[in-house]
Amino acid sequence: MAAPVSVHLEFGGGAELLFDGVKEHHVTLPSQPEPWGMRQLLVWIQRNLLKERPELFVQGDSVRPGILVLINDADWELMGELDYQLQDQDNVVFISTLHGG
């Protein structure tokens, strides 16, 4: 069994509007047989935080195009994307890209 993991989730660039306008969420992911990865985190967010219109946040098993994921202030592409294994106290940010000028 993997121990529970506490992570700090942030939503920005308008992605927070899918979460009642709340930008910061401190969550504890419960203990489970498998270690917590980004793939499982997205499912957890969808089930526990995202109340409406999931298509505006996820597409397939990843985030929808136009949302950038940052793990501890680095592009998740540098960290293994969906396969990254979450560590306790990790900071995960979901930023919707802005296009206005």
Partner: protein, 494 residues
Amino acid sequence: MTTFVFCSYILNYYFYYCGYFVTVIFLLVRFSRLTAMDNEMCSLKRQLEEKEKEIAALRSKLAARVEKASELKIQDKVTTLNPLTAKPSLSNEDIMRYSRQLLLPDLGVQGQLKLSQTSVLVVGCGGLGCPLAQYLAAAGIGRLGLLDYDEVELSNLHRQVLHGEENQGQAKALSAARSVIRLNSGVECIPYHLQLSPENALQLVQQYDIVADCSDNVPTRYLVNDACVLSGKPLVSASALRMEGQLTVYNYHGGPCYRCLYPVPPPPETVTNCSDGGVLGVVPGIMGCLQALEVLKIASGQGTACGQQLLLFDAQNARFRSIRLRPKQPSCVVCGEIPSVTRLVDYEAFCGSAATDKCRKLNLLSKDQRITVQDYKSIRDSTGPHILLDVRPLVEVEICSLPSSLNIPLSSLEEKKSKDIQLLQEKISQVKQQMAGDQQAPVYVVCKLGNDSQKAVQLLEKMSGEEVDGITVKDISGGLMAWAKMIDPSFPRY
């Protein structure tokens, strides 16, 4: 007696001579005053002559500036530009004008000369492009290409600070160029009143050293990126919405391009523009200034740290955050190892949206599910019982609304918020009581432009028989802005 005669004789002479002396002294004083006045006159004349020379110099400068401003020829197509001529050294005026930045060891004379030999293409003269162009011109950039297809509107002025009230209706590119010339007549300005397209973008981008993306829509961002990659130009890109901003430099010294980060465009329905989402003017102002900073550093040879970095600005929490980005992607379709995009493509088709920030017109409903504002005007005039359901967010309802409308935001309908559904049910039964027999209660849904109202009609039809019952739902085509335009000119527009 003799003494008396003698004294009066002396006194007589005394007074005679006194009078004489007084006159002489008086004349002397007068003469010296005249000489002083003469001297003063001479000095004033000299001063006058100097001032006249100064005025003449200023006049000729002003004339040159007016001539330069009137020389501004608006370009409706891309033409070939002469290369910028290299300045061998700074003039005395340059030295005085740029003295405070010349003192910076980071810039110095060499940096200043490089600025004067750099050309920058500004794509979009809006909330980002205005402050960017302003600071580039003030700093002494050599040439500014100012591109925008749009005209100045009143709702632009809170953030697009190069345009004034008197510029409404003018081409933004020209209005911005005139302001820039007023600030620094030494900068060469080329206003382009045209839409950047796959046909003209390459020819244009190739003629500039650095490109700044200040555009407001997704297709243009991909177009500018591809044009920069194909012509090997650094792209300083910023964006802003609501209370947030983002900044990155793409295609710089082997760094990633826009497509490396965003290989697939976002679904059009997830993209919010400034006219929908709103923006606090100072936010693009700050981002445009940051963009100017990066352009100046690249142009003067200092380089940028934003080549593989995303700068996020959260105005609400007054917080900046730097994110380390992925490197250039070998699989990138435009800058990767085996690129498949080797010429510009159709970006509106690629993104599924138009290359403007104007609102899209949705067509979700059939003709019999919609009424015109004229139809709704006659319904209002006939005072027939009905519900006018305004589905805009509360913040917009506070700006303006039609009397006796019921406000339930689209998001509340989507969530089926019980409080709001109950409110609607109560209103339906009230209307039904006013109607004869077992007729259905008419519900007319309105929003700002007639897009959300269509979504609401679809939602209410789905809810029919469950959450709500006994209604016929239609939307008012064109929304409140059509009402303001066709029915009531005194109704506010926003």
